[in-house]
Symmetry: C2
Subunit: 451 residues, 2 copies
C-alpha cells in the first residue's frame, strides 16, 4: 500500500491551492491529489463557455501548477476511507495510507426534486465537471427555446451568455422579486433585471415553476404556478449548490446543519489529521460568526492558502476572521459587485446600520469615451462608523473597487478614516479625485450617522 504524507481529495480551486501552498511550505512532504476526471474547468468561467469563450477547450484548469510544485496527481475516485487506520480505497482498486487527509470535494448542483418533471431529458445543470459540460455543449447547440430556472449568479450569467446567440430565445424564471436578490439590495437587483432584459433575456421574476412537461421523456415546456407555459427545448436548473460530502459523512465526519463538513478556523475537522476546505467545508459569517453556506472560489482559495500554510503546524495565523462574501459579475456590460453586509442581511441579523450612497460616472470628465454610470452604496455601523458592507454598480473598474471595500471591512476601517484615504485617480480609470465615489459614499454615511 503506497503511502503519502498528504492526500487531497478533489482538484478544484481549493484542492489545487491547498496542494501548491502545502508543497511550497513543505517541499520534503509527498502530496497526492486524487481527482475524478482527467480534465478540469475554471469553475467561474463555465457560463462563458456558452458564448464569449465559445469552446470548452478555452476554459481548462489543470493541476500543472501543483505538479510543478512537486505534487502527484491520480485520476480515480475514492470509495472508502478508514479514518482511524488512515487509509483509503479507490474505485480502481488502489489503496493508500496517508499522514493527513484533505477533503476538497466541492459542491454539486441542487436537483429540484420538488418540481415534477425534474428528471426529464434536457433538464441540465451547471455541474463543475468537464465531462458533463462537454456533453452538454452538444445539447445546447440545437436548442432554440431555453429556460433557466433561478436568477442567482450562475443562472443570470448563463442566461446572459446564451441570449447572445441570436437564434435562441432565453427565458429566466426567478421566484423572488429580482435576480441576484441574495447578494444585492432591491434597487441594485432591479438594475440586474433591467440589464438582463436589455441583453435579450426574457426575465420573469416573482414566478415559481410548477412543473416541467415533455414527451418521449424529453422536456418541452415549463409550467409556472400562474398557469403560463413556456416552450423549452432545454431547461437549466440553477437553483443553487450543495456541499459534496457523502464520502466524508460515510467516513464518520461531523456535518453542520447546512451539510458542510464541520471545521475550525484552520480548516481542521474534529478528527485528527483530517481537514476540509472550500465548498464542502463550513463557513462562518464575518459579522455575526454564524454558520452560513458561502460557496465562492475566492473564499475557497483564501481558506486553502491558510490550510496550505498550516497543515503541519499553525505557522501563519488567520488574520481576517470569518467568511466575507465578495460577489461580482458582469451583465450586459455592467458590473454588479457586493461585499459583506447588505441592507437585508443586516436586518436579518438585527445589526444597526446606516447607508452612504453616491452616484457618478466612472471616468472624469464623464464625457470620456467608455464612461459608465457608477453607484456605490456602503453599509456602516452607526456606533463607530465601521464599514460592514458595500455594493457597487458600474463599469469594469467596480471589479477591483469592491476589493478596496473588502479590505476596508476586513481591516475594520471606519468612514471617518476614509475621509483622509489617499487614492490614485486617473481620467481614464476612476471617478474624479474631487468626488472619488467611495469616499463620497463614506461622507454621506457620516451625514446619515449624524441624523
Amino acid at each position: 500500500m503506497k503511502s503519502y504524507d498528504v492526500i487531497i481529495i478533489g482538484a478544484g480551486p481549493s484542492g489545487i491551492v491547498t496542494g501548491i501552498t502545502a508543497r511550497k511550505q513543505n517541499p520534503e512532504k509527498s502530496i497526492l491529489m486524487i481527482r475524478e476526471e482527467e480534465k478540469g474547468l475554471v469553475p467561474c468561467g463555465i457560463p462563458y463557455i456558452f458564448h464569449d469563450l465559445d469552446d470548452i477547450s478555452q476554459n481548462l484548469m489543470g493541476p500543472a501548477p501543483f505538479v510543478n510544485a512537486g505534487g502527484e496527481v491520480l485520476v480515480d475516485k475514492v470509495t472508502d476511507i478508514d479514518i482511524r487506520g488512515k487509509t483509503l480505497q479507490t474505485e480502481s482498486g488502489n489503496g493508500f495510507s496517508y499522514g493527513k487527509l484533505v477533503f476538497a470535494t466541492g459542491s454539486i448542483p441542487t436537483i429540484p426534486t420538488f418540481i415534477r418533471g425534474y428528471d426529464l431529458e434536457n433538464v441540465e445543470y451547471i455541474a463543475k465537471s468537464f465531462n458533463y459540460i462537454n456533453g452538454l455543449m452538444d445539447r445546447i447547440r440545437p436548442a432554440v427555446d431555453i429556460v433557466v430556472i433561478g436568477g442567482g449568479f450562475i443562472g443570470a450569467e448563463v442566461a446572459e451568455q446564451l441570449a447572445k446567440h441570436r437564434d435562441k430565445n432565453v427565458t429566466l424564471v426567478e421566484r423572488e422579486n429580482h435576480c441576484l436578490y441574495r447578494a444585492f439590495s432591491a434597487d441594485f437587483a432591479a438594475l440586474a433585471d433591467e440589464h438582463l432584459r436589455n441583453a435579450g433575456v426574457n426575465v420573469l421574476t416573482g414566478c415559481t415553476v410548477k412543473e416541467l412537461q415533455g414527451s418521449s421523456g424529453k422536456v418541452e415546456s415549463v409550467i409556472l404556478e400562474d398557469g403560463r407555459s413556456i416552450k423549452a427545448d432545454l431547461v437549466f436548473s440553477a437553483i443553487g449548490y450543495k456541499p459534496r460530502t457523502g464520502l466524508a459523512a460515510r467516513a464518520g465526519l461531523q456535518l453542520t446543519s447546512n451539510g458542510t463538513i464541520r471545521v475550525d478556523r484552520y480548516l481542521r475537522t474534529e478528527e485528527k489529521d483530517v481537514y476540509a476546505v472550500g465548498d464542502c467545508s463550513q463557513t462562518s459569517g464575518f459579522i455575526t460568526g454564524r454558520t452560513d453556506n458561502i460557496m465562492l472560489a475566492s473564499t475557497a482559495t483564501a481558506e486553502a492558502r491558510i490550510l496550505g500554510y498550516n497543515l503541519f503546524s499553525i505557522s501563519l495565523l488567520r488574520t481576517f476572521s470569518g467568511t466575507l462574501s465578495v460577489f461580482s459579475t458582469e451583465l450586459d456590460g455592467f458590473v454588479f459587485a457586493s461585499a459583506g453586509a447588505i441592507e437585508q442581511t443586516a436586518e436579518e441579523a438585527n445589526v444597526d446600520y446606516v447607508i452612504g450612497r453616491f452616484e457618478d460616472v466612472d471616468r472624469h470628465p464623464g464625457t470620456l469615451p467608455g464612461a459608465k454610470k457608477i453607484i456605490i452604496k456602503i453599509i456602516v455601523s452607526p456606533e463607530n462608523g465601521e464599514i460592514i458592507g458595500g455594493e457597487i454598480y458600474g463599469g469594469k473598474s467596480a471589479g477591483e473597487l469592491i476589493n478596496v471595500i473588502s479590505l476596508a471591512i476586513q481591516k475594520y476601517v471606519t468612514v471617518y478614516e476614509m475621509i483622509s484615504f489617499q487614492t490614485g485617480t486617473h481620467p481614464l480609470l476612476t471617478t474624479a479625485p474631487t468626488k472619488y465615489a467611495l469616499v463620497k459614499a463614506c461622507e454621506n454615511a457620516i451625514v446619515n450617522i449624524g441624523k
Copy 2:
C-alpha cells in the same frame, strides 16, 4: 468692505473640495471662493483634450457643486493680503475682510530658463488654465512636428494623445533612462517607453535638450546635447510644476525649501486662521515623514476634505499620516500604477525592503476576450512584513487595484495578513481566485523575507 467667514483663493480641486466640505459642515458660515478665470478645467483631463475628448468644452470643471452647497464665487485676482488685519484686495478694486483664509493657489509649470530659446513662440506648457489651453488648441492644430520635453506623467500622456493624430510626428525627449522613472522601477518604466513607442511616439531617453532654435522668434527645432536636431513646429515643455506661492510669500507666510507653504497635519499655516491646501502646500512622505513635493489632485482633495472638516475646530482626526503618492496612467491601452515606496525611493531613504512579484493575465481564463498581461510588484518591510509600496502594470482593472494596495499601505497591512485576504474575483474582471495576483505577490514576498 464686504466680510466673509471664509475666503478661499483658487478654484482647482483642493479649493472646490475645501469649499464644499466646509459649507456642508458649517451651513451657517459664508464662504467666498475667488478664482482668476471664469472657466475651469479638470486638471488631469487636460492631456485628453488633445485627442480622446477632442474639445476643451468636454473637460470643464465648474464651481457648481460649491455654489449648490451655498458658496459664493468671484472671478477676480487677489493682489494684496493683510494677514494681521484679515483683509485682502483684488485686481478689480474689491476689498474683503475674512475670518479664515485658505490658499488653494495650485501650481504652475516650471519654465526651463536653463534651455536657450525657451522663450521662443510655440514653446508651450500644460498650464491648468482654461484661457491658455483654449488658445493653445489653435496652435496645436496646424503643428506637424511636435517635440515634448520631459517624460513624466504629463509629458507621456500628452505625447501619447498627440500621436493618435496620424498627421503629427511626435517626439518625446527624456533626460533619464526611462519615462515615468520617478514613479516606477526601471523594469516597469521600460514598459512605459515600449508602449509609448508602440503608440507612435518617437521616444528618446537618456537625452538632454541643449537648445531650442527658431527664426522670426518662432521655434523650429530642438537641439540635443549629442548634437542631433529635431524639427519642431511646436514644443511642449513638461519638466514639472512648482507651487504657486508668490502671493503667500508676499503676505509673509513661511515657505519650505521646496517652495510650498508650510503647514501642519491639519493644513494650518503658522499664521492663525490662515490655511494652505493642495499643490501650493507642504506635503510629507508617508514612510519617512520628510518634506516632499507631491502634486496630485487625489492628494490635494484628500487634504481638502480634512481641511474642510476641521476649518473651525478639529472635529475629524486625520487618520492616515503623511502623503502617500498614488499614481496611475494609461499609455497605449495599458495601465501603469504605483503607490508608496518603489525600489529606488526605498533605497534613497535607506529603508530595508524585499520585493514580491507576480505576473499573470487579468481575466480568467486568460483566453477571454480583452485579457491583458498584469504584473504586480510589492515592496515590503522584511522586519514585520508591512506593505510599504506597490506597482501594477496591466489592463484597466489596475486603476482601482492600486487603491487596494494604497489602503493596505495606509492601514499597515502585512503580507502575512494578505494570505487570508478575501477578495471578489470574476472571470471578466480580475485575475483568478487560485492565483489572485496581489495575494500571490504577497506570498512571493514572504518567500523572499525567508531567504
